[in-house]
Symmetry: C2
Subunit: 282 residues, 2 copies
């Protein structure tokens, strides 16, 4: 990594037709300093509402498939990395951006060519099965988004402090454990209200319990084989919560390195012969 | 039923200390026409934020328990029916108002003293076990509230028409069936987005699928014995959805009569000896 630049320019911040200008505003200086520098874009920039739609690569998909299906905006110079699609029992699933993170994380795993289960927690968590360097399939869970809605706008929110404080580890663990019991998520959620009604927990603890109930339900739904190792790829705070929940279920956890996205973009660039081993080709 | 009066005066519409005035405004004419007429109140009026807190009657609880624990506001004349509480594996659950509906519905069942499973669908659905005329226990599911949040404010909402139209029965049934498959609710919800992305369903159908996924999950979580009959007690539109979902699972369905609340209040009044069989005691 030679340089890094971030800006709050998400999908909804760019007007239709405004993508080239937004790109130039953010990265024009790099392009001017390094004429012909190859550039890869990943994530929602390749969605129907993005710069240009990059059709999903169908699973199973590896680096070679991704490289072959790059959506070129300027031939040999500027391309969008396609997202992935798969079918789960007749229902499609999709992701964009996480393919790059996973291929980057694989670079750092001791057995990159073996079978791996990875989770990328977030607004829409992705559970991915990788084998032989290819993504075999995945499932999206709307865990983070559901947490935000319940946390801020449901009747449960009245029981909780306005802002999340530090994680209450015991309350989080209790939520994870409860989610493994019969009753179902829609029932277990109500415990956030009733434990407050009976003064059996504080609001701060209940926010952590709510998080544990949702992450615990996501974990329950995986029906992982006992002892199945899982690689967690996410921001530190969220990764910690998944690590706790997985460890409670007896699953060895490996945390992916922070630079998975950049390693993934580099791996795609190499697979597309945009750069040679170690040095930029341009 | 001799007369009926309804007004949009929910819990949040009455300021602290304003309950007597609100009651007089709505029912003063009846009280004036029938001096000493006994009156029972049920629902959130007995909550901590209501007129006066009516402590929950602990399950198992029958009409006699409810009658004994009425919260009197004017002795012999005006009382609040207590809600119920129970414990599910160390976590409390509560309801207010549904106890009255269920005791009313029982009056209409051919085997009122037998074992019954009832569901009262709504913002917070209640699944209740009744035996020997007493509520043995129950579980709350935040199904309706979660539907409203996802329907109106999640990423799924972008795929859906602004208002619910008629139920798309096939799409609803597909959602119910999908909820019985492995994957978990938080995963299955995402299908509302992906089926739209791939143009495999219209927005109107997807709203019905979303409803089916949530009601199907609620039903899955009951783990009902095969063939277990269920009595559904709710508004016509919602009762129809539960009836479809239960029938698809092979469960005989009985619909409770519309006047369950009024029959329940009458049953409580009789149990409290406020009225004698057939005629008002006052």
């Amino acid at each position: 990594m030679l340089a890094q630049h971030a800006a709050p320019r998400g999908l909804l911040s760019v007007a239709p037709g405004g993508w080239q200008a937004a790109f130039d505003a953010e990265f024009g200086a790099w392009q001017a300093a390094h004429p012909g520098l190859p550039c890869l874009l990943a994530g929602m920039v390749g969605s129907r509402q993005g710069w240009a739609e990059a059709p999903y690569a169908a699973c199973p998909a590896g680096l070679a498939d991704i490289a072959r299906q790059l959506r070129w905006l300027q031939p040999g110079c500027l391309a969008i990395v396609p997202g992935l699609s798969c079918e789960n029992d007749g229902v499609p699933d999709v992701l964009r951006g996480e393919e790059t993170q996973v291929f980057g994380a694989l670079q750092a795993l001791p057995d990159a060519g073996g079978a791996h289960t990875l989770v990328l927690p977030g607004t829409h968590s992705k559970w991915m099965q990788v084998d032989g360097g290819r993504v075999r399939g995945f499932r999206t869970h709307v865990t983070g988004e559901t947490y935000a809605l319940l946390r801020q706008q449901s009747i449960l929110a009245r029981m909780l402090p306005a802002a999340d404080g530090d994680l209450d580890a015991d309350a989080f663990d209790a939520g994870v454990a409860r989610a493994q019991q019969p009753g179902g998520l829609l029932h277990h959620l109500f415990s956030v209200r009733t434990l407050a009604l009976f003064d059996r927990a504080t609001g701060a603890a209940l926010a952590s319990r709510l998080s544990g109930l949702l992450i615990g339900e996501e974990l329950r739904a995986q029906a992982l084989p006992p002892g199945q190792p899982v690689t967690v790829l996410g921001s530190a705070g969220l990764a910690l919560r998944y690590q706790r929940a997985l460890a409670a279920g007896g699953h060895p956890v490996r945390l992916a390195p922070d630079d998975a996205t950049w390693q993934g973009l580099l791996a795609v660039a190499r697979a597309a012969a945009l750069v040679s081993e170690g040095t930029l080709s341009a």
